[in-house]
Structure formats: structure tokens, C-alpha cells
């Protein structure tokens, strides 16, 4: 039997140019790591990474925006949603990279271990520390992760989606283990993340296989068509397939009960990496979930919707309730991110175009807040390492009014107080849910109650910073370097502006809220 005639895949280079640029930047980064002299490596990597991300963003704005299309043989789709999400990913990861570049004024090197491959506490590590090595590999790793995320949000079939998932996950596992202080905790977190990530990838793959079995194709459009024209023979495969695929995505989102890794990993990872993960991974995972739920399996959503509703409710409640008893700032923010994931899921469950717009807006608003917040957490230090225990934050407002004031503002934004983007975002996500019917309204009520609980947590932290006597004198907030200052400032500014005049960003999000298919 003669082989089928080979057909070259049509590639719309304009559409995928941003991804290609990021991939190229990452590869160049690897070369820099291999050949550039150690002294200048860090600086080169920061510039290279930032410029790569910005270049990709500019190309995205100027070129890719013009050619919204399905390309690469139907496996990549560039439409309003994916363009918006890619843009958000590029900007936020650029800000996260600026925070990663922080070297604490030369006082104590950067947040990353001098040598990732050394055993904690070993002589090798000591040598590396004394030599002043830096793990500048983190920058190309970031670029690879961003590439994976971009693939993830543009993927139009389950295989591409899985590739994206793995490309974004593997660098993150490594980055999690790179913290300079508390190395064991960091490595433990990396291992947990890896194991559980593998577990969830297996779920995803299993689900994808079932869906393939059901539809005869991994293509989201084909699955959708199959659902509406199905004969009924293979119906048993559909719901398990949907549920298992979604489990893989919900794991990345950090939804309950697939959230257990979140606090441990957020706490163990170097703080700038935590900020990157909280902002960007969430965007990527929600992008994929939106596409799967709306484009792929939306046609039979009555069959599986209730499962997602329960997950959303649980996520909000558990995230909010558990944040009450946290004693570590990073773990607190981790539970906060879980609760926020629940709020965003409410927007997803609206199943309307307005819902998509709300979700997009929420993702961006939360991303800016969280990058800035983790940027500040990284600056509050005691004796060279991060002062992440809440008791160490007592009275911070007296000695460092600017840092504490900024952080307090971000906490208010997390709580969703009006005049911050947190409020507009919640409104944007909740309003379509209320419009969608009773179930949505119930979810919104739960969401508002959960917000009240989290508001208590945030405000307690503000009270702690301003109205409690400091426990020790040696907790200091370092003056951030110019890159981190830029990142934090941008994050705060966006939070203010999107809170006071949300119209612009909301319009952008809602104009981008249409899938091509």
C-alpha cells in the first residue's frame, strides 16, 4: 500500500511568531549559559530574557494580531482569547523576570541557589557560595516555561495541549527547587510538585485517550462535532474523558481537591518563581480550561457541569477557610491564590461570552497584583533570608511605611475592595455568573461569603503590620533594585488604574472574548 502523499503543513508564521521568538530566546539563553563568561552571564541573561519577552509582545501586537487563524495543521489556533492570554503571559512573565533579577543590592546574592545540582549543606555548595556563583539557568528555564504556556493556551488539540502542559511544567519543577535558603524545603517542594504533576498529567493523558476513543480525533473541534452527532455507542467514554482531562488542568489551576501541592510549592519555591507561577501558570491553565470547556466539550456540558460547580464551590470555601490559620506569608498567599482560582472558575461556569471576558480580566488583574505582592515579600528579610513568618511582619508599617503601605494596598486588592482592580475583577467574573442562572447565583453567594473570610485574613495582616509592636529589630525591608521597583510599580499601578477606570481593560478583555471556532 503506497504511503499517502505527504502534505506539507501550512504554517502561518505571523501567527506563531511570538512563540518562535520565545523559543529562539530560550535556545540562545542555553548557549549563553554554556559560553558566556560567568561574571557577565547574569546581566546578559536578564537583558536577553526581558528583551525576548518584550520583542515577542511587540510582534504579537503589531503582527500576529492581524492574522487570527488556525495553523500548523489545525493544532494551533490564534484567536482573540489566545492573543489576549499570550499578551498577558508575555507582560507578566517579563515583570516576573525583573523580580527574579533582584540581587538585593549585592548584600546577599540573589534568591537562587549558587549551584542547583549540589546537595544541600555539602562542601560543593559551600564552594559555589564562596565563589559567588549564580543560577542564571533560571532565565532560559523561564523562557521555556513561557513557551509551554503559550502553546498551552493556543493548543487546538489534546496532544498539543499535553505537549504545552509538559513544556511548561518541567522547567517549573526545576525552578521550584532552586531556592538559595531552606534548600531542603525547596527541593522537597520540587519533588512533590514533580510527582503530583506527573500524576495529574497521567489523568490528563488518560482523559485525552478516552476522548480520542470517543471522537476518533484529539482535535477539539472534532470532539465537539462528535458530541453533537454521536450515535450513542461510545457515550460511556465521554464523561470520564472530560472529567479526567479537566483534572489535569484543574491541578495546574490549583482547584480543590487537586490543590494540595500549592501551599507547599509556593512556600518552597524561590519567591520570585512563586510570583511567576501564581500569575502565569494560572493564566495558562485557565486559558486551556476555557478552550476545552467552551470549544471542545461545551456541547454536553449538562453532563459534567455539576462536577465543576462543586469543585468551584469547594475551591472557594477551602481556600478561604484554610487561609485563616496560616502563619506564613507565602502559604497565606498560596491559599489566597486557591480561593481566587475558585472565583475565576465561577466566571468560567457562566458559559457566556461575558463570562470569558470576566475571566480574562480577572486573570490579568490577579496576575499584576500577585507579581507585585511576591516581589514585595522577597524584599522583607531577616538576617539574610526571607522573613516569611507572619510574626516577623508585625510592626512593619512603622519602620517601612512605603513597603507596608504598598503591600497593604495589594492585600486590599486581593480582598476585592472597591477602587482596586480586585473589585472590578470580581464584579466582571461574578456578574455573568449571576446572569447565567440559579446555579451561578448560588456560586456567587458562596464566592462573596468566601471573599468576606479572606478579607478578614488580609485585614488581619494589615492590622499586624500597622498596629502590633514589632517582635525584633532585625527584620528589614530592603530597597529593591531598579528592575524589581519597575515590576512592583507596574503591578501596583495597573491595580490602581484598573480599579478606578476599569473601562479600558474590560473593553479589551471583552473584545478578545471570542473563540475562533
Amino acid at each position: 500500500m503506497p504511503a499517502a502523499e505527504f502534505q506539507a503543513v501550512q504554517v502561518d508564521y505571523a501567527a506563531v511568531a511570538p512563540m518562535l521568538i520565545v523559543a529562539a530566546g530560550a535556545l540562545v539563553g542555553v548557549l549563553v549559559e554554556a559560553f558566556a563568561p560567568r561574571r557577565s552571564r547574569h546581566r546578559i541573561q536578564v537583558w536577553l530574557t526581558t528583551l525576548t519577552l518584550l520583542a515577542a509582545f511587540v510582534v504579537l501586537l503589531l503582527w500576529s494580531r492581524e492574522s487570527m487563524t488556525v495553523t500548523l495543521g489545525g493544532s494551533v489556533v490564534v484567536d482573540g482569547v489566545s492573543l489576549f492570554l499570550m499578551g498577558a503571559l508575555l507582560v507578566l512573565s517579563a515583570l516576573a523576570v525583573l523580580v527574579m533579577a533582584e540581587r538585593f543590592g549585592g548584600v546577599g546574592a540573589d534568591a537562587f541557589t549558587p549551584m542547583g545540582s549540589s546537595t544541600p549543606g555539602s562542601a560543593q555548595e559551600d564552594t559555589a557560595t564562596r565563589a559567588g556563583y549564580a543560577t542564571s539557568e533560571v532565565f532560559p528555564l523561564t523562557l521555556f516555561a513561557v513557551l509551554g504556556m503559550m502553546v498551552f493556551v493556543t493548543a487546538n488539540d489534546l496532544i498539543t495541549m499535553f505537549v504545552g502542559l509538559e513544556v511548561l511544567s518541567l522547567p517549573l519543577y526545576v525552578m521550584t527547587g532552586l531556592a538559595r535558603r531552606r534548600r531542603l524545603l525547596s527541593q522537597e517542594a520540587a519533588l512533590k510538585y514533580f510527582l503530583l504533576g506527573g500524576f495529574s498529567s497521567a489523568f490528563f493523558l488518560f482523559g485525552a485517550a478516552l476522548l480520542y476513543g470517543y471522537a476518533g480525533s484529539g482535535d477539539l473541534e472534532a470532539i465537539s462535532t462528535a458530541i453533537s452527532t454521536a450515535s450513542g455507542d461510545l457515550d460511556g467514554l465521554l464523561v470520564p474523558g472530560v472529567v479526567l482531562t479537566m483534572v489535569g488542568l484543574l491541578f495546574k489551576i490549583g482547584a480543590v481537591p487537586f490543590h494540595s501541592w500549592t501551599p507547599d510549592v509556593y512556600q518552597g519555591a524561590p519567591t520570585p518563581v512563586t510570583g511567576f507561577m501564581a500569575a502565569c501558570t494560572k493564566i495558562a491553565a485557565f486559558g486551556a480550561l476555557l478552550r476545552l470547556a467552551y470549544v471542545g466539550v461545551g456541547a454536553n456540558r449538562w453532563d459534567w457541569e455539576m462536577g465543576l460547580v462543586v469543585v468551584a464551590a469547594l475551591t472557594m470555601v477551602v481556600g478561604a477557610v484554610l487561609s485563616v490559620t496560616q502563619t506564613d506569608v507565602k502559604r497565606l498567599l498560596a491559599y489566597s491564590s486557591i480561593a481566587h482560582a475558585g472565583f475565576i472558575l465561577v466566571g468560567v461556569l457562566a458559559f457566556s461570552q461575558a463570562g470569558i471576558g470576566g475571566v480574562l480580566f480577572y486573570l490579568v488583574a490577579y496576575g499584576f497584583m500577585t507579581v507585585a505582592a511576591f516581589g514585595i515579600v522577597a524584599m522583607v528579610r531577616q538576617g539574610g533570608s526571607e522573613a516569611s513568618h507572619l510574626s516577623q511582619w508585625a510592626g512593619l508599617g512603622r519602620r517601612h511605611p512605603v513597603v507596608a503601605g504598598t503591600f497593604a494596598f495589594l492585600l486590599l486588592a486581593f480582598a476585592g475592595i472597591p477602587l482596586t482592580s480586585g473589585f472590578t475583577a470580581k464584579y466582571a467574573a461574578f456578574a455573568p455568573a449571576v446572569a447565567s442562572g440559579t446555579t451561578g447565583t448560588v456560586l456567587v453567594v458562596i464566592g462573596v461569603l468566601a471573599s468576606a473570610v479572606t478579607a478578614f485574613v488580609y485585614i488581619r495582616l494589615i492590622v499586624l503590620m500597622y498596629f502590633t509592636d514589632p517582635t525584633g529589630d532585625d527584620v528589614v525591608a530592603l530597597v529593591p533594585s531598579i528592575p524589581s521597583t519597575v515590576a512592583i510599580t507596574v503591578g501596583v499601578l495597573v491595580t490602581v488604574v484598573a480599579g478606578i477606570i476599569p473601562g479600558l481593560a474590560l473593553d479589551l478583555a471583552s473584545s478578545a472574548s471570542e473563540f475562533l471556532l
Binding site: L195, L196, D303, V311, T325
Partner: protein
Amino acid sequence: MTSLLAEDSALSAADASGASSVAWLLIALPLVGAAVLLLGGRRTDRFGPLLATGLSWGSFVVGLVVFLQLLGLPAEERAQDLTLWNWVPAGAFQLDVGLLVDPLSTSFVLLITFVGSLIHVYSIGYMENDPDKRRFFAYLNLFVASMLLLVLADSYLLLFVGWEGVGLASYLLIGFWNWNPAYATAANKAFFVNRVGDLGLAIGIMVIFVTFGSVDYATVSEGAANASQGTLTAIGLLLLLGACGKSAQFPLQSWLGDAMAGPTPVSALIHAATMVTAGVYLVVRSNPIYDGAPDARLAVALVGAITLLFGAIVGCAKDDIKKVLAASTMSQIGYMMLAAGLGPVGYAFAIFHLLTHGFFKAGMFLGAGSVMHGMNDQVNLRRYGGLSTFMKITWVTFGLGWLAILGVPPFSGFWSKDSVIEAAFVGEGWQPWVLGGVALLGAGITAFYMSRLFFMTFHGEKRWEEDPEPHPHDPDRTMTVPMIVLAVGSAGLGLVLGPTGAITSWLAPVVGEHGEEHPVLPVWLIVALTLGLVAVGAAYAWVRYGRDLVPEVAPKATAITRAARVDLYQDAVNEGLFMRPGIHLTRGLVFADARGVDGAVGGLAALVGGLSSRLRRLQTGYARSYALTMLTGVVTVLGALWVIQ
């Protein structure tokens, strides 16, 4: 017929031109003064009082110019509307900040700015040694600005702003010496009682808005002709409640006596001449509403009648010079309310009496201040006596005010009060006999207690041998000149405005023509009866307090006197009827809040905290249990969906 005329006039408010177009300066000048003095702080200590006084006079000059301009216009064009800016642009509801310059508001403007400026001058002397006099003058200026806003507003809502402004200034000035807890309490009392009235006014304004769709006077007077009588009565009664609070009318009269805690110039300006008459202004200004609601009007008249007797009786028994004057103020405002409640026949006389009263009562308060000044701040009448030889100017000026309030011809009070009494006798059925009788009786009692005050202060034996012995003397010129000017006004103002018919024809465009109504008794008989009763009252006072020795300690007296000494048990009644039930209600609410609401909130927080601690144990840190959680989740979701299907 008269009411129709009133409506026509209010409709024809033309756009302001000429001097009226700078009417905003009237309010702006004192407001700037208050702002400079309050914001400038101690830096303005040196020139502050002079600046405030100057700005107040500046406001008077503007007022005078506006008045002269109006005088030059034909009567029907004497209402000018000055729109300043769009205030509330809320969809269908549009409200401008606008000033209404018409004969009624201009009368008030002249009274407020002239008497107010005189009292500013007087205060320069009176408050000379007070370390906080800058703040005092700032509040005075704030008061003048607010009061002018109140009378110049062209809508009820803007009037309410001024209304609250004068309330604030009154509160601040009553409690000016708030280091004395009793004075601070007096300020609070005034504030609380006024809240009750203000609530009435606020609700009244809301009903006006609901009924007419707007709150400006023009719309209201236009719409009043078509509104139902029930609605108009409700509005009238609510506005009356507001008027009762501000004007210390029954049943909200209790605060005025205690308000005498403020410095005496304040008592003269705010609690005698101007602010307390705001209620009368409100009723007269709302004449289109009251013309359509005879029941509400009767209520106004009855409130006035009750208060005029109440104040008069209380005035007979008080030994504190300022409290006698306060009771008298209450009583005289009762006369004005009574007149305002009579309708078109009385509106003009209410304002007439208001103007003359503003002069003679302010003059007497300043006289009282002068006496206190010379007597080491002693206020007890039983510790005065024979002061006429020591304080000639005070004696003469106070005496003119005394003759005026008694209604001795040809002094001011004779013309204005007599008009009110005559008007009270107009009508049908029981009304003229009751209202007229009360007004007549009140005149007699007034003569008694005012003469009692006058004789106890200036005549008889001197009763002030105490340590340190006071040296009564006339104060310096800043204080005597205002007293003299006000005394001249007390003597002559009535003669100028009354018999010439100037006041009735001047106000006619606003309140309607004064009809050809005839009292149930011949006018000469009413005048004769009034003068006779006044002579009897004054003579009895002379016998008791001029000729006979006055005991230095108040004797145990009849039950009615004892009741009058404690203001006819007004505080006990308020306490029993409102305060105690209120306290019980509050306690109940606090209890419910602590046990119910706080319990629920605290319990909920504890529940969340407990749940959090439990859930936290699931976070063991073992990857295997995390994986198990995930697996359990997947199995549960799948199982549940399978069951549902």
C-alpha cells in the same frame, strides 16, 4: 383672593440683574471670614476679630444696596432669582443652587446683617479678654453666612443646608465655653432637640419632592393649588415640626433656656434676634402650602398660642436674667407663630413683629451682657438692684427695649404686637376668642415679667454686697454704641414701618395682600384692653419688685411658681416620655447586639477558625496523601456524575 395673589407673585421671579446679581457676596463675605479665621489658626489672632466684623459690615452694605435696588423697582418685579450653579444633576431631578432675592428675604438680610454686625462690634469689647476670641468670631461669621443662606435659598433643599449650618453654629457657640460640662451638655441638648425638628423638616422636604417633583419654591407654589389638602396638611405639619425645633416652640422648647450657656452676644444674635426666628420664616415662606391647608395653619396658630403662654409663665418665675429673656423670646416667637398661623391676615405682622423683636430683644440681651460685665458675671436678679445710678447708658437703652416689648406707644412693640393681637381676633367661631384672648393675656403677663426683670435689676435696694464687691459701670464704647443703636431701633422702627403701612405693602408681593378683615371686637377696644392689661401687669410688678424689698433668696412660693421655676416640668416630661424609654430601648438593642449579633458573628468566626484548623490537618506534607486526595476527588466526582446520569 389673597392666596391667588400670593401664587402669582412667586411665579414671577425674574432673573437677577443689577445689584441682585452679586447677592452671592452676601453669603460669601462672612463665609470667607469664617474660613480664614478657622484655617488661618493662631496667625489670625491679631486681626481676626476685626476682619470678621469688617466682612459682616461688608455683607450689610451689599444687603443695603440690594434693598435699595428692589425699592426702586415696581412691586411686582421685586422677586429676582439668581442661579449660581447646577447642584444636583441626577437624571430627571435637576436642582440648581439659586438665591431668591425678594422683599421677604431682603427683610431678613437687613435684620441679620445689621444686628449681626452690631453684635460683632459689641463682641469685640465683650470677648476682649477671652483667649479664644478668634474662634468665637469665626463661628459668628459662619453663623451669619449660614443664616443668610437659609433665608436667601430658592429651594427647600438649599434652605436645609443653611438650616443645618445655623444649627451647627448655634451648637458650637452654646458650647463655646465647653470646659464647663454643664455648658457642653446644654450644647448637646440644643443639638438633640433640634434633631427632632430637623427630622420633621427633612421628611417634609421629601414629601414635597414626592408630591411636586421638585423642591424649589417656584414649583411648590405653582403646584400647591392642585395638590390634595391632605398632602398639604401633612407637609405643613412636618414643616411645623421643623419650625418648632429651630424656634423653640412647644413641644420642642426645652433647649432654649439652657442655650443661654453661650456667651451673651450669641444669645442676643442667635437665640433672640435671628436663628430662632427661622421657624417663622419657614412658615411664612411656605405660605402657598399653608394657604391650602387650614388645619396645618390652625396647628401653627395653636402652637404659637401655647408657647406664648408657656414662655410668659416661665418668664415670671425665673431669677436668672438671661433665662427670663430666653423665656420671653420663646413667648414673643409664639406671637409670631400665632400670627403666621392666621394666614394672609397675619403673615406680614409676623414678620413685622419679628423685625421689631429682633431689635429690642437683641438690645436687651446686650444690656444684660453689659450688666453681667459690670457684676462679675452674676446672672441672679436677686443679686442686682439699684443699678440705674451706676449704669446710666445701659439703664436707658434697656429701658427703651423694655418699653418696646411692653407695647407702650409709640415704641416699636406697640405697633407690631398690637397688630398681631388685632389679627388674632379675626376669624369665625371659637378661634378668634381663644387665640385673641391668649394673645391679650400674654401681653399682660409679658408686661409683668419684663417689668419684674427691669425693676429687680435697675431699681430698688442694691443687693450685691458680696466678695469681691463688684463695681458696676457702663462698658466702653464698642459695647455701648451697639446698645444705643439697637435702642433707637427699638424705639422708632415700629413707628416707621407700622402706621405708615410700609411693612404690609412691602411684603405683599410675597405673602399676599393684607385683606380687609375685621376683628370680632372693635379695634379701639382691643387696643384699650391691651394697654390696660399692660398697665396692670407693669404696676403689679412695680409694687412687688420696685417698691417692696426683694428677698435675696427666692421664697418658697405657690405650686404654679415652683412649676414655672423648673420650666413647667418640661425636662421631667421629656425625661419620662422619651429619655427613659429611649435608654431602655438602647439597652435592649445593645443586649440584642451583644448576645445576638455579636454572638452570631463571633460564633461564625470561631466556626471558620475551627474548620480551618481541622482542614489544615489534611495538609500533612506527604506527597502520598496529596495524591490520595486527588484520587479521592476524581473518584468522587466521577461517581457522583455517574449517579446523576
